[in-house]
Point group: C2
Chain length 325, copies 2
Amino acid sequence: MLDESYIEELVKKKFPLKSTIFPTGIGDDAAVFKIKSDKIVFSCDSQVEGIHFDLKYLTPEQLAFRALSVALSDLCAMGAKPKFFSNSLFLPKRTSKAFINKLFNGFKNGCNYYSVDLVGGNVSMSESLMLDIGVFGEVLNDRFKERKASRVGDLIYVTGKIGDGSLGLDLLRKKKRFTFKEKLIISKYKSPRARVKLGLFLGQLKFLTSMIDITDGLSLDLRRLLGPISSGRGATLIWEDIPKTDCISSPVSTSKLMKSVLSGGDDYELLFTIKKTRAKHFEDLCKKNNFKVFRIGFVDSTANLSLIRGGRAISLKSQGFVHRF
Amino acid sequence: MLDESYIEELVKKKFPLKSTIFPTGIGDDAAVFKIKSDKIVFSCDSQVEGIHFDLKYLTPEQLAFRALSVALSDLCAMGAKPKFFSNSLFLPKRTSKAFINKLFNGFKNGCNYYSVDLVGGNVSMSESLMLDIGVFGEVLNDRFKERKASRVGDLIYVTGKIGDGSLGLDLLRKKKRFTFKEKLIISKYKSPRARVKLGLFLGQLKFLTSMIDITDGLSLDLRRLLGPISSGRGATLIWEDIPKTDCISSPVSTSKLMKSVLSGGDDYELLFTIKKTRAKHFEDLCKKNNFKVFRIGFVDSTANLSLIRGGRAISLKSQGFVHRF
């Protein structure tokens, strides 16, 4: 039978202590570790079965890797360098050792992929499966990026296709067999990648005025990026400029595609603003460094969001995933 | 209706940004903060409804304060100075604003009592109520205390009465009206206090060889402190020397008292070992500083635990609360 000591032993074996980093290992009351920068960047993010994920669609390995990616995405949105993570596990009765092994294989894959180390965790019983991931990073050259510091006139960019995450989940819910192109979209849902390198690059740019990651939906996260309506800042997006999927074989209705792109969430792309006068320089710099970025609109003084589609402006509601109780 | 933005606003109002500490406030993707020491001490600890607590016995204020205390106790066991905490909340449907207000009043009380700051959090829906608390501390003079570094002959100490936590919970489960003395015991369960000052003091002592906090039961945590049986280290405890409750008015059976003291858990007292040759010096130092400590036994080479009671040695099983799935 699984008990917490099994997990502790597994962690010690799979995530060996790196004596150069940690004065103490896993398995004590608390972890002791160093971060070179004097500024620590911390975030925590949870995945709850039935709310954020369904084990019908994700293997335990994918779940763990995905939970880590989603949490790390918040560090990327600050322009920080991920270093460590912790995992608090809430496990239902009859969780098996096989399941735990797979889950920790996923965490191990995440450690390797993102070059981060597991520094702590906790195990509790609960009614359903939940993961709470804490992530720690450092800032380089004392620079990091916040939300809400954009100015009217700044240009708005994203780092990749928007909408694929929620389209992928939709496909999983509706079908059992998928075309090659559909599988690509599904993999964006199952295995999002936190934009570590791009985040670090963007975090160092003085003319980047604000940044966030798209978690809950483009329009909702754009509102969060701009700050409250009382800030006076609004934004106009150009529908045709937003990078979207081009690989749905079965036709998706326009309204469905718009919903996925504008409020679908689960994208984990970065959304940020650049001073207009530096846009050309910025885009050249990205090209030189082989980073793909997409200009999708601009900050305006309307306090509201609008979308220009086919040359016509329509009002855009700030919508997406919000926990309501 | 409660939604996550209500909680974000509440947190911003109640836990205002201290610009001297944080370059950025709560409400961004991640928190950025400084810790003076170059060593960060981190731990996370969860409280799950139905497993760790029952809202029949705790108000939301008590629950939050208690969850923070329990998590901070792990930092105390390292001899670290608590600085910051984060709270990941898992809330069931129909959680009310009134409940959330009370919960955050409890966290606020904890901030004031422990001089710590809230630096982040997360809100998710879930089937039952759960709190996952992350705590951050720093070590002074580069010194901190681990488990498993005791030597045969070291003396074993605790910082306060053992068993009251679980006796208090028992009383709550069995009765509705309590004597004054019973209320004192119950308050040890409801409102444990992390041993911050004592932990810091003990953490600086070179002749203190190992330390842990008693969470899951004296005998179980003693085993954890000593390390595995393969270490060869065992311990002998003197029953009469263990500080125990003296304020149960209704008589408690000896077997019941023994169970509470030896495997009850929920004590959050520190359990540590001191080099025998420094014991006199140590006890004098504690007296001088007005710290109460109690010598309860010694580390031996039997690999097992024993208890001397009424002059007779009996074998002591390492027992306590373990999550089993």
